[in-house]
Amino acid sequence: MSILTDPPKESFRLSMLIYDTRFRSATIQVVALIGFLILGGWLISNTAQNLVELGKEPSFGFLNEPAGYDINQRLLEYDNQNTHLRAALIGLLNTLLVAVMGCVTASVLGVVIGVLRLSPNWLISRIMTVYVEMFRNVPVLLWIVFINAIMIETMPAPRDFRGETPEATMKLMDTVAITNRGVYVPEPLFTNSLGDVHLFGNSSLRFDVSLDLLALLLVLGASLFASAKIRSNADKTQEATGVRPTTWHIRTAVVVLPSVLLLMFLGLHWGYPALKGFNFQGGTYMRNSLIALWLALSLYTAAFIAEIVRGGILAISKGQTEAASALGMRSNRIMNLVILPQALRIIIPPMISQFLNLTKNSSLAIAVGYMDLTGTLMGITMNQTGRELETVLLGMLVYLTISLIISGVMNLYNKRVKLVER
């Protein structure tokens, strides 16, 4: 017979904090936390002490003072009497603008180049290899400066369009002017414009929404929705009867007609650029700095995306293609229905991290004088007000937010397409 006894009750000893695995992790964490707090406290107290010595009280009051400088590239209205906050907002929008444009072109270019690198045509695949290696192995800052220099040196200046026998002429039936200041294209104008809505009154964050654009978007959205509805009805009919009604003409009409009617109602006409005074006037205008930055970022990132795309396609085993052809699929359907859906799962995550890189690299805009967030808030504003701490911290915070949003989207996507493995 055996007697069950409780193991001797262990009293808590200090050394258990280190040697007992039950407590050790807690000890390590507490030590780490204390270390972190001490480090943080040390940095903050140093900063406070230094700032007092320099006589600078940290304050964000400068954001509400007039900026005093002009920004050429702006998506919202702005003049030099607006606040520094407004200038930073303009800069942020410029960052987002070039980032979005860059991501779109970089993906398109990247996919094309990635596929062409696998082309059976020796010459083409070699050229693409040279392209990829050339762009991947030279710093992006150098490319930005380089492409900007090319644009400045090789495009005609507006003065070349002057005179009886101008050295340069406008392209596309005199509607587009390509100069070394930028590209001028016609802009849509409305005679019966609905006007703008002014949001946020007079604050630094105010912006105007064009009602014309809003109306156009609404109508277009509604017609697309209607068109989708017609299509799903056609699908249903096909499933029920086996005969697919012809719907393409109705769908085209549904999409196109309302928009055209709206545009006619608004009185659409085009404003063409024309050389007046020093510059081309009229039309809209994409500045050289924006084009150079956009091109350089897209070309650079496209080289990386091309490699990702190539890797993704090569990673799909050949058996997939063979099996699909054995089922009698044609080659474009094999690509669309078999290869790409699988390759995309591999391609998209690294591609999004390239988008992230592109967005961060857009901060090199100052090299070509494109006024992005780094150029306004962390550039001229910092320089004019002498508020290094506040501007740099604020700028970092904004970039961090953008990055976190992008990587949040990436994680969501990853969760959706994740293969469920064991």
Partner: protein
């Protein structure tokens, strides 16, 4: 592993630097090296030559100060700074002296807490345009595209000028003078605006300088001068009076050619006081008696420095203009050495 070595070295460096929070003059003497902030490169004012030695008009001020304090114009560390980094470099003590064609303004003096010790070049902001544009006044520049260096007072002046005259413009911000020149030459901007001295220097290097004109309007006052931190008056005095010694030497006729002769004593008491053969001005500054003679021995007096780096016989070819001695109708006026 490498990391620890590195941080070890850093700690040592940090401790060494931390121990010396005395006056800048004592720091410089203890270090036996002057840290001088200059531009990353501006024709005539500061640029490294092929051997890596810095040369130029602003550099000459640094060298004179180094010679006056340390007796050797090569005991100097040039710290290239951008428009953005210059003030923090000075405020944080990374440099002892900033000689980077910096405009003396109220807010820099009062709000950013620097002491401008004087003016070594009186400048003003101007415009350069190609002749074929047919513009003869800056007020005709309505709607023009203007290349402008960012991070300077010039962009604020520009905004003010166009607002006062109620005309519009399109700014093209650029980082460096070299880029501005490139854009302007290619016609990417109608006019380039910066300090008139910079414009002249830039124009001098063009293929065909005569095809470009500098417009008559000078839209701002740009007194450029060396500056030091607020609150260290001993050091401020050293730099201020070194600069004044260069200017006074020109007025008094002391040149690098006759320096040795004059340093042995003349019958002009002010020259004697300046060169340290009479009185104890050097001692008052905490320097050797012949501090000014050493400073002058580097590149001569103000006029010689001017002529060598940016004067009419250099490619830059600037006239003295406002920067002539007051006796010649200019603004260079050194207080008496007494």
């Amino acid at each position: 592993m490498n990391k620890s070595v590195f941080f070890g070295a850093l700690t040592v460096a940090g401790l060494a630097a931390g121990a010396s929070a005395a006056g800048t003059l004592d720091d410089v003497k203890a270090r036996d090296k002057l840290n001088c902030g200059v531009t990353t490169g501006l024709v005539g004012f500061a640029a490294p030559n092929a051997n890596g030695e810095w040369e130029g008009f602003d550099v000459a001020v640094c060298r004179a100060v180094a010679a006056a304090v340390l007796g050797d114009s090569t005991k100097i560390e040039f710290v290239p700074t951008t428009g953005k980094t210059r003030f923090t470099a000075l405020a944080s003590g990374e440099i002892d002296l900033l000689a980077r064609n910096t405009t003396w303004t109220f807010s820099r003096d009062v709000d950013l807490k620097f002491t401008f010790v004087g003016v070594n070049y009186y400048d003003g902001q101007g415009f350069i345009v190609p002749k074929e544009l047919g513009v003869s006044s800056a007020k005709e520049l309505d709607g023009a595209t203007v290349c402008i260096q960012t991070g300077t007072t010039t962009e604020l002046n520009l905004a003010d000028f166009f607002r006062t005259n109620n005309i519009s413009y399109e700014p093209v911000p650029i980082e460096t003078n070299a880029e501005g020149q490139q854009q302007f030459l290619a016609g990417a901007c109608d006019t380039y605006t910066t300090d008139a001295s910079g414009l002249a220097a830039t124009r001098a290097t063009f293929d065909d300088p005569s095809a470009y004109v500098i417009l008559p309007e000078i839209i701002s006052k740009e007194p450029l001068g060396p500056l030091v931190r607020h609150g260290d008056d001993e050091w401020g005095d050293v730099v201020r009076w070194t600069l004044n010694a260069l200017i006074a030497a020109e007025e008094l006729g002391v040149t690098s050619a006759n320096l040795a002769e004059m340093a042995s004593g003349t019958n002009n008491p002010e020259i004697n006081r300046l060169l340290g053969t009479e009185g104890n001005l050097g001692e008052m500054l905490g320097l050797d008696a012949d501090w000014a003679a050493k400073a002058l021995a580097v590149g001569g007096n103000y006029g010689e420095v001017f002529a060598k780096n940016i004067g009419e016989n250099t490619p830059i070819g600037l006239a003295r203009g406002l920067n002539a001695q007051w006796t010649d109708g200019g603004l260079m006026y050194a207080p008496p050495f007494r």
